[in-house]
Every structure is written in C-alpha cells, then in structure tokens.
Amino acid sequence: MILLRRIVLYLFTLIYLVFCPLTIFYALGFMYQPGSEHGIVKTGLVYVSTVPSGATVYLNDMRYEGTTPSVIRNLIPGSYQVRVELKGHQLWNQEVPVEAEHASVLEKMLLLPESLKKHSLGAQSFEQMTVIPGTPFLLLARGKKISECFVYDLKKKLEYPLSGPLFEWEDAKVLQTHLVSRAKTIVVKLERQNARRFYQFDLSLENTPKDLTSLFPEEPKKILWDPSAETHLLVFKDKHLNYLRSDKKTIYPKVAGNVQGFGVENKNLYLLRDDHTFAVMTLDGRNEKALLKDAVLGESLFEDKGFYDIDVLSPELILFLGEKGALISNRLPYRFAHAEVKGYDYAPRQKKLLVWTRSEIGVIDFSKAEESETDVFEKGPRLIWMFTRGKSIQKATWIYDAAHVIFQDQDHLVFLDLETFNKAETHELLQMKEDTAYHYTDQTGLLYFLDRESGKLTAAELLPKRELILLPFPTRQEKTVKRRLMML
C-alpha cells in the first residue's frame, strides 16, 4: 500500500507539474502553433453577446459553432470580419481587431429588428408630447387649451385629463409649462380673456390644481423646485431668487441676489453668483457654504455672462450648462464644451454623460480619466464626439445600460450603435410626428412617441423585455437622469 501510494503520488505530482502550467498558459491565451517563433503564439479572443441572444456568429465568413453569447478563442492577433445574424433582425457586420492576451468584447450588441413592433396606447390623437424625465408621466396635448391636455401614466397604463372637469379655468390656453426632472408636479401658466394665472398640477392623480398666481407678482424667468419637496419653489427673475411655499402660500422674496445660475438637489440650493462664486445653502437661502473659493478659477470658468443651469448629478459631479451651450463641470478638465451644447443625459451607474449639440453627439466617460505616458499633468475625462452629421438634434438618450444611444434628429428617431471598434454607426428607427418628443426607458425597453400619421401615442419595443439586464445589485428606480426641459 505504501509503495502504491508513493507511485500514485509521484504520478499525480508529475501530472500537476506538467499540466498545470500548460493550463495556465492556455488560460492566458498562449497556444502552440508549429512554424511560429518558439512554436508558441499569444492569442486573443472575441466575446460576442447580443440582445436578443441566440444569434449566429461568422468570423471571416466561417460560421462559429453555437449561438450568442459566444466566446471565440484561440485567435491569432489581427483583424477579423465579424458578422452576426439573427432571423428577423438587421445584420450586424463589422471589422473587429484582436490583440494578444486580450479579449475584444462586444458584450452589449443590440440587434435591431427589421421592423419595429409598434402598438397604440390609446385612441386619441395628439399634437404634442412632453416627457417628464425621471417619472412615468407623459404630457399629451391635443390642442392649446388646458382641457385638451392629458397625462399618460406609463406604469399604470392609464390616460386621464390633466385638469378635472371641475377646474374653473379648463378652457384657458396654456402659455407655458414648467417641469422638473423626477417631479410629479408641473407649473402651468394659463391665459383666459387676457388674465393670466399660474397653477400647480399634480400629475399622479386627477385633482384640482393649486392656484399659485398670488405667488407670482411678476413674470418669472425660471421656476424650479426639488422633486422631494414639491411645495418649495424657487423663482428666478432679474438676477434674484424668490422662495415660495405653495402649501402655505407664502413668498420669501430675494433669498439670493446676483444670481447667475442655480440648481436644486436634495433640498439644497446651489447658487452661482455673478461674482463667480459658487455656494450651497438651504432653499430659503440660509446656511450658505462656499463650494468654489478660487475666484480666479471661477472667473475663467464662468466667463460668459449668461445664465447657467446647475445640475447636481451626484455628490461628485455637478454640471453647469450655460445659455450659449457651454458645458462646465466640477471635474477636470472643468470645461468640456465651449458652446452649443443643447442637452445631456447622464447614466449614473456607468458614470457616462451623453452630450448633444445641434449636429453632434458626444460622450464623456467619468469612470476613467485620460492617462498619458508622457504628459505629467492630470487631464481628466474627455468629451469624445461619436457622431457629427446631425441636422437638428433635439434630444439624445442612453439605451441598454448606456451602451448605445437613440437620438431625435428633426422628426427622425435614430439609433447610434456604440458597441463597435470602428466609427459609431447609425440606423434610422422611425419617423415621429413633427415637433414632438420621444421617451425611452430601459426598464421596459419601450420607445414612446406620437405616431407620424395618426398622432396616437405609440409604443415600440426596442429592447426585448426578457433580455433586459439583470443588474447584480439592487438599484434605484431610474437609471438615467435627463436634463430638465426648460419650458415649452
């Protein structure tokens, strides 16, 4: 028994000493290839994961066994033509580089259907659709009157009038709508027989709106409120801020002066003054704490005289969007765009910011900073323009876990494929009703828009529901934070 044990032990030891290193080398991508230098080559691999899954992958016209998600191993470094086919979906065909010991990962490939499956969500036709970002509400308007305005609740799949039949001003004309991202109330300026009033509507149910007219002695330039405190409003006019309590019908005039920009987050007021100082305080203007003490930096950053919208996207990231489209942040390199930025969409989990101008779409990846082997100065992330051929881009949105983008160019809805090793490719999805908006959420994978012909609210499936990413940890409700639409 002792002898047998020793023999087996030596044999197993030999097996381990021979095969374990071979296994590790194989795992690292080394492969034996006769004829090559030293007989060993370092290989790479291509990983393809599609939504929907089950697609067939071809590498240089050779079909790979199995369907997606696929790992194609033991590839000699070089370029490969990768073609992905799935019945009922558009073909995906691109050149993919393979490097030694590296994986070329295409893990969020979205295969677009050859034709989008659409379905109407109601019988009515509408002229206008407004999205309340961060909420399940859509504002739909058949005409200019308040009685012609409706709310569609995407969660409950219900459509109901914005104002009830008992609303005394139901025949008033809507002049302006103020809304805030993630807030379930809106403030509407109405006009009837030369009289003007301001009302606050709660979108979550049909009820009598609150008359706020007395709180607006003058025409506000901008109204803002914290979604977590919707009865606390801030009104901007003539470089000062008034703080209003719609529940108590009280005004606190001029809580802040010399205002060049402001934003609200988590019951705090973030204030940029025209002396280029930046501070945070309570909504009523108290307990001020300076956030930017370097006046020189402030002056160089906020050289434009115009107004800045301030958006606190996270405790570490604050954005300033100037009137002329300058995009500034508290993160290096601070100024990401000098002008023309019209809006942005932030994906907090991936820390990626989608930025658009009239003709361009760009991405800033805050999760990684640019590094240079020669340059000793820290650079921070860069704004990289992924698409530059737009005509009149109205809006852009992250889709599929911030892996791709859809954007509205005039009345065309376009898909921008970022999961590529080459230039980002575009695919037209559909045409919407002119001068209306669209809405998309990863939670349902549905695109909401007004049909071009019928004007009906329509939903189209962009991301198959069953394929939605199951995130490893519990997450907050909404994954993207959209820029607040200023006014309609």
Binding site: R5, Y26, A27, L28, L45, Y47, E101, H102
Partner: protein, 557 residues
C-alpha cells in the same frame, strides 16, 4: 527522548517557540483567505492564475483521495468475513497455518483470496523476522471508558458489544473511568454496570478520578491517565506483564464490531514491533445515523471517509478518537496528556517523540461505531455538530508541541520530521481554507473584475477551466455517493427509490455543509489558538442518550 509534552507552563525561549507555532497555522489560514480576497481586488489576473493552480491541485488531490478511499473501502469489505480467531490460532502454529493456507487457496472467492494473500504475507514476514509471538490466549485487553455524564443506557450498548464479539470476554478487562465531579446518578449508574456485568469479563472496575489534581485540566486525558496508572499498579500486583496487555480507550458510546478484538489481537501479534505501535480502527457513526438530519449524515460519513483514506498511509497515520495501543508503550510514554483536549492524537505524538520516531500507527480494517451528535432539533444539532468539529479541529494544539519537540529531537531523521511537520501543518491549514477558496473566494476575481481584467483572455478562460475542473469533481462525488450508500448500515425498514435518491442527493450540498460545519469550526479553532484563547471541551448531546463529556477549563490546577 525525554520531552515534556505540554504547552503549559513554559518559559523563556520555549514559550516563545510555542507561541510562534501556535500562531503559525491560524495566521497562515487567515493570510491565505484575506490575501486572496485582497489580491482579487488589486491584481485579479494573478489571483485568477493562483485560483486555477489551486483548483487543479484540488481536483488531483480529490482524485487521489477518492482512489484510496475506494482501495481502503475494498480492504475493509475484504476483511468483513475474516475469521480472526482462526488466524489467531494459526499464529501460534505458524508453519502449519502457512501450509494450510497454500493448500486451501484455490477454493476461495477473490476477496477471500486477496485477504488470505495479505494474511500469508504477514505470517511469512513474521516468520522471517524471528520475533517471538505471544500466545493470544494470554493477551488481555484493557478497555478504558471515561465518563462524566453518561448514563447506563449509553454504556450498556457499548459494553455489551465487547461481550457479543468473537473474542473471549474472559480476556477483556473493562474499566469505567469515572470523574469525581459526576453526579450521583452517573456514579450509581457506573456501579450498576459493574454489578450487571460482574463475572462476565476478566474483571470489571470502576475507578474514580479525583478532582483538583495539580497539573490536570478538566479533560478526558486526565481521567483515563489516572485510571491507567491505577491499572498499572493492578497489573504489577497481579504480575501481569505489560507486554501482554493491549489498552483501548473508547468513548462511552463506542460500539465495537464483533471482530474488533480478534482483529486487534491479530494485528498486535503480527506487528514486528508491537510495543511501538498504536492501532487505529475505522470510526463510523452508525449508532443513530438514520435518526439524524441528512446534512449530519453527510458530514459524519465524510469523517469516516477521511479516516479510510488516512488508513492507506500508515507512515503518516495518527490516532483519532477510539483507538488501541500497547500498554507498555503507554506506560513508557507516561500516559495520555492531562492538560490537552486532543488526547487521542496527542498520545501518538507523545509516543513518537518518546521513541525517537520509532513508533507508528497500524490501521485496523474493522469499524467502531459511535453516536452522531444529535440534539433533537435541527438548530441544536447544528450547534452541537459545529462544536464537535471545532473540538476535533482543536487537534491543531498538537502542532506547536510537536514542532518544539522536533527541534530538539536529534535522533529522528530530518526527512521524517519534515514529512510529519508539513503534513500536520498542511492538513490543518487546508481544513480551514479550502472550502472557502473553492466556494467563495475563487469567484471574487470575476466578481470584482475591473475593465482591465474583464477584457483579458484570462477572464473568459477562468470560468471555463473552473467549470471543467468542477465537472471532473462530479465523478469523484458520484463515487463518494455510492461509497456512502454502501458504508451506511441497512435501515430497519426498506426505503422507497425516491427516499434513497434523496439520501444520495444530500451529497450535492457538500460545499455548503463542509464550509459551515467543517471549515468554519476549523478556522475558529486555529484562530483561538492563535490568539491564546485556549478552548474548553464541550459536551455534545445525543438524541436518546442525553449526556456526554464535561467541559473542562484548560490549565486548571
């Protein structure tokens, strides 16, 4: 070698060396677990490579153990029907027995042939060695049963098994080693046993171990040592040579196989240096195995399997739980330690060091059955099993003492010291770490993969390789399941196919069971030793037999 086999009351450099070796196993285990976790963050590529290397090592080790488990089980089943008494008679008439064996060989079945072949080999070696063979009729088996809370119900089955065996009970001397601190009921129970079994053995004694003997902790070893010392005087008075006495130290719930004493006597007689050997049977936990939850069954069967595998390596075998040895060796090595919990393994090391390495353990391919630690409900049973495993893992307390002894033992060859030291160390560290590495830590590099790692070939290769390795482990698992079904005793009532399938499927939960009820207690035991929080001994409940050992405070004077 004269060596004080104790970790207590050391001073100066001895104390420092003792503490160093007390800290080493626990520190190594924690270093591995924490180190691999941190490495998964900081350098996932290196962590993944190490995990592949470890998984590969583990699967080979698993195959190795499974192979020898099968061999060992085969050997155990070979000897099930062996007529040990006939062999014993033959040993006293070697030449005739060998002649008979050669003639009779052709008429036997294959297992019988193999068993006979082994027997013939042993007898031939004995004949060649020229060693004198004692008359087995003059061998006395001294059986020590330490008790503190055990009731007659527990003892009766155990003692009855001595009577019901094939070996003549007139050559068995039963001693109940009773703690003074036992309750009056327990004391009365011991006396009741003495009356019940009076005249059925060579002798039946109840020896009371007084409390508070200086230098003794409240451990089983102190109790049985006291009883053994008393029996030393007994044998001297009766002029019984120690060479004729084989001492067995059993737990109160130990039920021996009918062949046990016959097999033991045979192995003692054929052993070339019988006074330099301990004899280790295969412990099984069959007394109440069908009355306990499935996860306990899996765990205890795993323990039996471990001993089966260990029995195939007699060069490194160490005594565990119920075992037997030469009484002379026990006396010369100064009995069991009186201040250590793991007296069962410590006595081997004590003898090994005392005889400068000229000591070994002979495996006995016969079983002794004990109770599973069951407490009547799942939660209490889990707690009791956890405590039991922790007590077993406390065997790591031998490591520092053995290493200290090895540093002083000039006569033991370095290779042997190295072999034993490495095995002792590796066994305990593996016990405390492997399950965590396999079930939890091995997945961390993929879980915490940053972009650099997640875009490497290794990131995609590792799960595939791991899956293949674990797939291979399924083969070993299947073998283990089959072996467990063979090893388990037959149930009183026949089970349906589904129920039997259920018994087999319980093994699928091995990773979770072993992680929490084997590895975790081992890690705790090592951590306690590392921190100097020396353990008390815990009693474990049994469902029908309510009391076992006390919980002595270590170091109590």
């Amino acid at each position: 070698m004269k060596f004080n086999f104790s970790g207590k009351k050391l001073t100066g450099s001895e104390r420092a060396i003792q503490r160093f070796f007390e800290i080493l196993p626990g520190a190594t285990s924690w270093f591995i677990l924490i180190g691999m976790t941190l490495l998964s963050f900081w350098n996932p590529i290196l962590a993944a490579v190490l995990i592949i290397a470890f998984d590969f090592f583990w699967i080979l080790r698993l195959f190795f153990m499974t192979l020898f488990l099968v061999i060992s089980y085969f050997r155990l089943s070979l000897e099930k029907e062996t007529d040990w008494m006939a062999r014993l008679h033959g040993l006293n008439h070697l030449t005739d027995a060998l002649t008979f064996l050669n003639k009779d060989f052709g008429t036997r079945s294959l297992p019988q042939k193999i068993s006979s072949w082994i027997h013939r080999k042993e007898m031939t070696e004995l004949q060649r060695s020229g060693a004198s063979v004692p008359d087995f009729k003059k061998i006395i088996h001294l059986v020590l049963i330490p008790i503190v809370r055990e009731t007659p119900e527990i003892l009766r089955d155990s003692i009855s098994s001595f009577l019901n065996g094939y070996f003549p009970s007139e050559q068995i001397l039963v001693v109940i080693a009773l703690e003074e601190r036992a309750t009056e009921d327990v004391k009365a129970g011991a006396q009741q046993m003495a009356r019940e079994f009076e005249g059925k053995f060579f002798d039946f004694k109840v020896i009371l171990h007084p409390n508070h003997i200086p230098g003794e902790a409240r451990v089983k070893g102190a109790n049985v040592t006291y009883a053994a010392r008393e029996m030393t005087r007994y044998f001297e008075q009766k002029e019984i040579l120690f060479d004729r006495v084989i001492v067995s130290c059993f737990d109160a719930d130990t039920v021996v196989d009918a062949h046990y004493f016959g097999c033991l006597t045979y192995q003692y007689m054929v052993c070339p240096k019988r006074e330099r050997a301990s004899f280790q049977p295969i412990p099984v936990y069959h007394n109440n195995i069908w009355k306990v939850p499935g996860f306990v069954r899996v765990l205890e069967t795993g323990s039996s399997f471990f001993q089966l595998v260990e029995s195939t390596d007699p060069e490194k075998l160490v005594t565990f739980s119920s075992h037997s040895m030469s009484f002379r060796a026990l006396v010369e090595a100064d009995y069991w330690p009186v201040d250590m919990i793991s007296d069962d393994s410590a006595i081997f090391w004590k003898c090994y060091i005392h005889y400068d390495g000229d000591y070994r353990v002979v495996p006995l391919y016969v079983t002794v059955s004990m109770d599973v630690a069951d407490a009547g409900n799942w939660w209490k049973t889990i707690v009791n099993v956890y405590r039991q495993k922790r007590r077993w893992a406390w065997g790591v307390e031998n490591f520092p003492i053995v290493m200290r002894a090895f540093l002083q033992a000039k006569k033991i060859p370095f290779s042997e010291k190295m072999g034993h030291g490495v095995k002792l160390f590796e066994m305990h560290v593996a016990w405390a770490t492997w399950a965590f590495l396999l079930s939890v830590i091995g997945w961390l590099p993929a879980l915490f993969a940053g972009r650099e790692f997640s875009h490497s070939v290794l990131y995609y290769s590792t799960p595939r390789i791991t899956a293949i390795i674990f797939g291979f482990s399924t083969c070993a698992l299947v073998v283990t399941i089959i072996m467990s079904l063979w090893l388990l005793p037959k149930r009183e009532k026949r089970d349906s196919v589904f129920r039997r399938l259920g018994f087999a499927l319980q093994w699928v939960f091995v990773p979770g069971i072993f992680t929490f009820l084997s590895t975790l207690p081992a890690l705790e035991a090592q951590t306690r030793l590392m921190l100097g929080a020396y353990m008390e001994k815990w009693g474990t409940d049994t469902m029908q037999r309510p009391a076992v050992f006390s919980s002595p405070a270590p170091g109590k004077q």
